[in-house]
Amino acid sequence: MVVRYLGAEVQRMEDPRLITGNGRYVDDIKLDGMLHAAFLRSPHAHAKMRSIDTSRAAALDGVHRVFTHADLGPKYSHRMNQLYPAPVIEQNKTQYPLAKDEVCYVGEGIAVVVADSRAIAEDAVALIDVDYETLPAVVDIMTALEDGAPLAHADTSSNLMGRMRSQFGDIEDAFAKADHVFSASFMQHRGGCHSMETRGCIGRDDPWGDGLTLWTSAQSPYLIRRALSRWLDEPEERIRVVAPDVGGGFGPKAGFYPEEIVIPLLARFMERPVKWIEDRREHFMSTTTQRDQHWALEVACTNEGKILGLRGKVTHENGAFVPYGILLPNSSLTPLPGAYSIAAIDVGVDIVFTNTVPNSPVRGAGRPCGIYAVERMVQVVSRNLGIDPATVRRRNYVRPEQMPYETGATLRGGAKCVYDSGDYEALLDKALELADYDGFAARQAAARAEGRYLGIGVSSCIEDTGMGPYEGTTVRVEASGKVAVRTGAASQGQGHHTMIAMIVAENLGVAPEDILFESADTSKFPHGVGTIGSRVAANVGPSAFDAASKVREKALKLAAEVLEASEADLDIEDGVVRVNGAPDVSITLGELAVQLSPASAMRVPAGFDPLLEATSYDGSSGSPIACGSNVAEVEVDIGTGEVRVLRYSVAHDCGVMINPKVVHGQIVGGVVHGIGNALFERMIYDDQGQPLTTNYGEYLLPLASEMPRVDVTHMETPSPLNSLGVKGAGEGGTIPAAAAIVAAIENALADFDVEIDYYPVDPQMLTELIDAGAAEAAE
């Protein structure tokens, strides 16, 4: 009998450690002789450094050494590499691990102190004297490309990093034959990472032993190993990067940071392990964020609300450097046309430098922005034509019979964006039903009678998930009968251990508890790609499934010989191979493993490779497209501008769910992240590039008391692109959330004709719009 785990709500294998305080995050690792580092970071958004004097810091009791760019020496004096080179990058500005003579954002690392303790290192940082010549800073993306704007870098003549465009269909024709053309422009602001564990790393260098080891709180250890190898010009085989337990990632931990060069170098210079743990203020200033993106769009449509074309321009804030290539602006454009069949699109993006911390993807990357833009334009059509927003959507969805549907857009790897499966209208129906959309008018009227303003907003999305090339898995049965499973994919809380154990256990016929799972250690698995873009389930899932299948086949073939039975009569249950109908004739997987890993002078059975092991890199043949529809119901206090989310309904389709409980957690967590983007999270800089929100009193994260219960329902349309039929689920909650919330607020304030052109929507902004609307109505 096969024990089914796939699709079951298996409790996570990770949790017993984590709920008893036995996790192993990077700051929990203590090595013999370990020293501690603290960084001096630029207090200016843009400045030249005339001189740095570290003598007072170096003299402090307990300080071992202080390093500046010059102190790293000529071998380590070059800028960081571009992780994702792309032809559209016109100015490939990457930073020095420690700034050389110019600083371009508040928080850029200038010097680092190595001391007996973190506290002493911080004391010493305050004693470093830098002579700055401050330079004008550019902050506002809307004026950054104008003549005479301050320049983000002293050695450049423009703040333009590069330009991109997504263009398909006959846009002129679409606008020429439209009954209506409407336009809208809006600024989107997304916040930062704010994983509850900050960044941090430990370096250890043992040139005659293990080589260079970096433990780091990261999403992509293999990318870091390669980047470090290239920067150091040393072989990858001598560099080990480990992501231990990681306390949340959300995108900003997916790249490669200056500290991940500096800390290993310090370990090399000091000949002792060195630890650096980012504090929260540093996180605000030096961990990459997403921030501003301005969209100015025109939509062409028919009288019935059928959208024919979309065109316009995006201005994207890049920050001071380009650590991630064009991932963010690119993934902002590729979701167009969203869940809709829009024949013609022409949207370009100007990517501009500012003197702020470099940008990176945050949960969803550019997808929440691209989807927000499409959904806003659907909203604009609905509003101007007076057609219910759900109806406009129905008239525009890509329909199941159009699948596979090629949108015309191109994904980052050069592949065409193809919607593989899904029923978007059916998903909308489920969301509307869950939200009791039909009953809303009565709820709204009843509330209005009490002087309360309720609104409802709908949003739909698609999400390209599961990007390639692969994420491999090795499955090996050891002599004890336990099953070692290894993969490169790092987890930041997504439950990879549980998911992969379920897949292997079901396929191999063992208990999930018998699986010894290791991941995210470059010394344990040869290559991995990274945990980004909702890609792990759709890549590791199939590879774990395939590797386990191969091990099963090998075990059955060997058992058939040993037991002198036909393979067809064998089954594996709880780690034991038995002959059907003769339950006493059996052999354990462990015993089979010993046959393939015998002692000296013994032989591996003829026709078998050593080890009861298999490795697979099976993944997805393309990006499975997940989809969702969200309905938000809000109440706005027209006196204070406070928005309360009363009800939030999600219908989501991520294909076959391996563990519905884990998927549910991903969706709910993602929605709350998106509500935070819509209502709270705002990283503010003043016009000189000083960050003004550098603690959790000033930068607001969603709290339990402000969040609604999120109701979630699923459709499971199997993706044809991988063996398990799965699609990614990590970001589908976040992507449509801001559009639903903003639409609901506008709906609540329809009497005041409020149009929102910026999020996060804060109470001050809303009260001003309400007052303006009330004044206009009174005239």
Binding site: I19, Y25, S195, V246, D279, K661, V668
Partner: protein, 160 residues
């Protein structure tokens, strides 16, 4: 030289004596001096709640309290929530059952905060629980699994 004091605290039922710098927070003392790394430092300015421990039974932010202030007091950390035999507390069990954690970093503070809260408020509503953990930030779960876990644990404990 840094100013230091010798302090004695009872941590998870065990008396521990150690030297602490007067400027060292209780959280750093627990983690670095006593090696109890289950308590996590999330913001170090008293907002996120990840570092919450129980001091004489009351939830307190170990980043906002100095180690020397804990001298003579009784501390419970996440490592002390399970029974002596390793059996999970009803709240820990419920967190596991209801997917009340993802990355696990805020979890120690959630567990300690709710342990104290549910002791004093055995029959809370969902709204009560949401208010009770409004001083603990979770970036992963959207709080729903945590709220469900707390309500279920309260029920289990009421039913004894």
């Amino acid at each position: 030289m840094a100013d230091t004091r010798e302090i004695t605290v009872t941590v998870n039922g065990e008396s521990r004596t150690a030297t602490a710098e007067t400027r060292t927070s209780l959280g750093d003392f627990l983690r670095q001096t006593l090696g109890l790394t289950g308590t996590h430092m999330g913001c170090e300015h008293g907002v996120c709640g990840a570092c919450t421990v129980l001091v004489d039974g009351e939830a307190a932010r170990s980043c906002l309290m100095l180690a020397v202030q804990a001298d003579g007091r009784e501390i419970t950390t996440v490592e002390g929530l399970a029974g002596d035999d390793g059996a999970l507390s009803p709240l820990q069990e419920a967190f596991w059952k209801h997917h009340g954690l993802q990355c696990g970093f805020c979890t120690p503070g959630m567990l300690t905060s709710l342990t104290a809260y549910l002791r004093d408020n055995p029959d809370p509503s969902e709204r009560d629980v949401r208010e009770a953990i409004s001083g603990n930030i979770c970036r992963c779960t959207g709080y729903q699994g945590i709220v469900d876990a707390a309500l279920d644990a309260a029920k289990t404990m009421r039913e004894g």
